[in-house]
């Protein structure tokens, strides 16, 4: 029997308990069937009741409309009890199943804490923080949301690799996450990538390149199709061209990304406008630098920044401000796009090493005084402060 059947039996038992009470023979019969269904579904397993969906061991349960309606009744009862996950370690006894059904019935009636009174050997439950995101996104802390999305994007990017056919779906997921993260909390998203002590892996640098593009383009009023394609292309080139240190020249990186993009067959044999657009950017960069697509210049800049992040022949990593200053000194870099990037990131982006007026070293964490870019919020000796006097960059003499 499937795990969807467990949800069904949960619903039946909950309804029976609601209507007849826990001790009624109908409820006991329903509890027995629930226990049997759990046994048939081979515990241990867990059901997650998140949003308006039900997952079994984090896999979405395929439910038809009626089954979904029933499942939502169970979910509402569980949510009323502050529960988003029910786990079954072994087959429960009939009494345990009946107790669970009774607690859910209490939840359906709006009685909170009904589960807290229970001590069940085979059944566990927990609340999943942030599980209401989606329909109730306003309740989610935007900073935490941004950090989470960026972290998930880096985790996704780790699965992209630098060879083999491009995993479009994963790439899209990263673009989507960055889009949401930046819309939610721009600085937190940037800081998550730029100012932490984790190593600059290929995945992190790839996501950083894509974020740089997304952040810069967010200053412009662009159609989402153009913005997403540009960000995706930046991700593809970075993921395909960057190496542990340095990376391939831009043209080769674009060609490698193009090969990967074309190696992946589109679903149903029809290529989407987004893919065509991203491939057009890659082709332009692989063939003639940028062609007549100005957005390609931004992609080239993001790749350059992340390629130089860990320079070849060196044993150190550069910060964003080092990279921007290097790009600013290079006449081959398109000035307008570079200025856009600097404006988006801030002249003192998070991660910049600065020296305070009293000589103490600090690390920029984000904007500080809105009237003075040279008084950012700075991490000094474990505390974040907005300095009284302007800071100077660590490399300035």
């Amino acid at each position: 029997m499937s795990r969807a059947a467990v949800v069904h039996e949960l619903y039946v038992a909950m309804r029976a308990a609601t209507r007849y009470g826990r001790a009624h023979p109908s409820t006991e019969a329903a509890a027995t069937r629930l226990a049997e269904a759990i046994e048939a579904a081979s515990p241990p397993f867990a059901l997650q009741l998140v949003g308006e969906a039900v997952f079994a061991d984090r896999q979405l349960l395929p439910l038809d409309l009626d089954a979904h309606r029933r499942a939502m009744e169970v979910a509402r009862a569980a949510h009323a009890l502050q529960v988003h996950e029910l786990s079954f370690s072994v087959t429960p006894s009939r009494s345990e199943a009946a107790a669970l059904a009774g607690a859910l019935a209490d939840g359906a009636r709006g009685r909170e804490g009904a589960l807290e009174e229970l001590l069940l050997r085979s059944i566990g439950w927990r609340e999943i923080p942030q599980a209401d995101w989606g329909e109730e996104s306003q309740e989610v802390d935007p900073e935490i949301f941004a950090v989470t999305q960026v972290s998930l994007a880096v985790a996704d990017a780790a699965g992209l690799g630098s060879h083999g056919e491009w995993r479009w779906s994963k790439g899209l997921a990263i673009v989507r996450r960055l889009e949401r993260a930046l819309a939610s909390h721009r600085v937190a998203a940037e800081r998550t990538l730029e100012a932490n002590d984790l190593p600059w892996t290929l995945a992190r640098r790839s996501v950083s390149a894509a974020r740089l593009a997304e952040n810069a383009l967010s200053l412009l009023r662009l159609p989402s199709s153009a913005r997403r394609a540009t960000v995706h292309a930046a991700l593809m080139i970075a993921a395909s061209g960057l190496r542990e240190r340095g990376g391939l020249p831009l043209g080769e990186a674009a060609a490698a990304a193009l090969d990967r993009a074309l190696a992946a067959a589109p679903p149903r044999g029809r290529i989407s406008p987004h893919r065509v657009r991203a491939v057009a950017l890659l082709r332009a960069l692989a063939a003639d630098g940028a062609g007549d697509l100005p957005a390609a210049k931004l992609v080239a800049l993001t790749y350059r920044v992340e390629r130089d992040r860990r320079p070849e022949g060196a044993s150190f990593d550069l910060t964003k401000v080092d990279l921007l200053s290097a790009a600013a000194a290079d006449e081959t870099v398109d000035g307008a796009w570079l200025r856009l990037v600097i404006n988006a990131e801030g002249v003192l982006p998070p991660g910049a090493r600065v020296v305070l007026s009293d000589g103490s070293p600090g690390l920029v964490m984000g904007p500080g005084d809105p009237m003075d870019a040279w008084r950012p919020s700075v991490l000094v000796a474990g505390r974040v402060v907005i300095p009284d006097a302007p800071v100077r960059l660590g490399g300035e003499r």
Binding site: G51, D197, A226, A326, L393, G394
Partner: protein, 536 residues
């Protein structure tokens, strides 16, 4: 809102669901999609809300979900789709594709993910789909495998950083970085520039970047180049869509890469290339090229295209170019250049001369003469309709006309009035061979309805030399020639008494001549007699 209008809007949601069901069952969808498109465009502001319970229109449940109707509403909702609205231009095939995608949608992770990606990738062309986080994303977010406490600290900027990073840093490393030739890190200069606000962007800068990055034409061109140059992509593209984009590009501006692409397509040996080439309507393609052509460059690429283009396309292009050349000097110049890069025999192969208008013929003549392709011009003149051939000949210098005797003879034998004009034109030349040609022409075609003024002028022209005056004698005695014209010929002999006598010598036939001619002959004879008497 009136009940009738509300009913119509509810029906749109029902029609969308009917289209999805038809698609699922494999029934024909074209008509349904066309009807839905028409109805939806009439209510362009309509947004259909998607809920697990069904489709909502104007706040009311319009199509309740059950095992059959709006079955796709639940999975679409799970994907994060919340509202559907129009995003014109919307074509019926767009709706068919959207319905097809919905028909395939199941409450199953892979299906949901693919549909969500498709929506995010702008797959639902013509529609604006409000897309929230999918349920799977909600769970991923909730279960994110990261240390939440650490994440919060990092987000709030607390001590998520190792103490090492906060130690005095940079000088040594930056010096080393600066030594790397590809970097040239110069923090001090960057700081100076930043303090001097040299990195600031003006509103104009932003607008320029915006315009560049969002320019739909530039994107379309780049996408088209990618599709046409990359076989892997070409095989996936919709040929009609490609052809539509290509025409749009050409209409906007004819550029060398676009023409090279069309040429490549016409000669493509892969199935996808042939499909796209087949989708290109020759008339539409020629129209687009002519619309976007600026008559500067690229002649070579257009020549290459004309060299391989099927005859209908080349013909349409050539005729269009000739039509432009008949009006514009730059087009004529362009056409002349173009012809250098195009084998001359192709002109004859493709041009369908019977359809060339007189004005086009004039332009063509100028082009061919400019190229020195006189022989080709002779062929052309023979193939042109009489009116156009006459126009073409008129475009030539009088000295060039004798070389096209065959064409003029053809016109004359067809009794074309344009020959009179040509003769009139030739009288403007003092070249003996032209005069001789005019004489022969008049002599051979004395039955033509010559235009009296032109004929009279021609006669005066012929009178300038001996052989011409001999022709005048013949003409004046030709009984087939119109009386007025014979009188003109007689009059032109005024300065040559000897030939005048020959022309006016009495013959029995004169009794049959019209009175005005007899009077003229009589007058000449009297004048001659008087002159002889005076001489005696």
């Amino acid at each position: 809102m009136r009940a009738r209008a509300r009913g119509a809007r509810v029906k749109i949601a029902g029609a969308l669901d009917a289209l999805v069901r038809a698609s699922r069952s494999g029934a024909p969808t074209a008509r349904l999609a066309a009807n839905l498109r028409g109805a939806w465009l009439e209510h362009g502001d309509l947004a259909i809300e998607i809920r697990p319970s069904g489709l909502i229109v104007d706040g009311r449940l319009a199509v309740p979900a059950d095992a059959q109707a709006a079955r796709w509403a639940l999975p679409a909702f799970m994907v994060g789709a919340r509202t559907l609205a129009l995003a014109p231009p919307l074509e019926a095939p767009d709706l068919e594709r959207f319905a097809e995608a919905l028909a395939r949608l199941e409450v199953e992770e892979e299906s949901l993910r693919a549909f969500g990606d498709w929506l995010f990738e702008d797959g639902a062309e013509g529609l604006a789909v409000e897309l929230h986080a999918s349920f799977v994303e909600v769970l991923e977010h909730a279960e994110a495998a990261f240390d939440a406490a650490r994440g919060v600290r990092a987000a709030r900027g607390a001590a998520a950083l190792p103490t090492g990073v906060t130690q005095p840093i940079a000088a040594v490393e930056l010096d080393r970085a600066a030594l790397l030739p590809e970097l040239g890190v110069d923090i001090a200069r960057y700081a100076d520039d930043a303090r001097a606000r040299r990195f600031e962007l003006t509103g104009a800068d932003l607008r320029e970047l915006e315009d560049g990055a969002s320019d739909p034409a530039a994107w379309s061109r780049a996408e088209l180049r990618a599709v046409l140059e990359l076989p892997a992509l070409r095989s996936l593209a919709d040929p009609h869509d490609v052809s539509r984009r290509l025409l749009a590009w050409l209409r906007e501006r004819v550029e060398a890469p676009a023409l090279a692409m069309v040429t490549g397509l016409l000669g493509a040996d892969d199935a996808a290339g042939r499909r796209v080439a087949a989708a290109l309507d020759p008339r539409a393609l020629a129209g687009a090229i002519l619309e976007g052509l600026r008559f500067e460059m690229p002649t070579e690429e257009l020549g290459d295209l004309l060299a391989v283009a099927p005859a209908p396309l080349a013909r349409a292009l050539l005729h269009g170019l000739l039509a432009e050349a008949s009006r514009r000097a730059d087009a004529r110049y362009f056409l002349t250049h173009l012809a250098y890069s195009w084998p001359p025999q192709r002109w004859v192969e493709v041009w369908a001369p019977d359809a060339i208008e007189p004005e086009q013929a004039r332009a063509l003549t100028r082009v061919l003469l400019g190229l020195g392709l006189d022989a080709l011009l002779g062929d052309a003149l023979e193939a042109l309709p009489a009116e156009s051939a006459a126009a073409a000949l008129e475009a030539m210098d009088p000295e060039q006309l004798p070389a096209h005797e065959r064409a003029i003879e053809r016109l004359a034998s067809q009794g074309d009035a344009g020959v009179s004009t040509l003769v009139g034109k030739m009288t403007g030349s003092t070249a003996p061979q032209v005069r001789s040609f005019v004489g022969e022409l008049l002599r051979r075609h004395d039955t033509l309805p010559w235009e009296p003024r032109e004929f009279s002028r021609a006669c005066r022209h012929l009178a300038l030399d001996e052989s011409g005056r001999d022709v005048l004698v013949e003409l004046s005695r030709s009984t087939r020639l119109d009386t007025r014209l014979r009188v003109s010929a007689l009059n032109a002999l005024r300065g040559d008494p000897e030939r005048q006598r020959r022309a006016s010598a009495w013959r029995l036939r004169e009794l049959m001549e019209p009175p005005e001619l007899r009077a003229a002959l009589k007058r000449i004879r009297q004048t001659s007699a008087s002159a002889a008497l005076e001489e005696a």
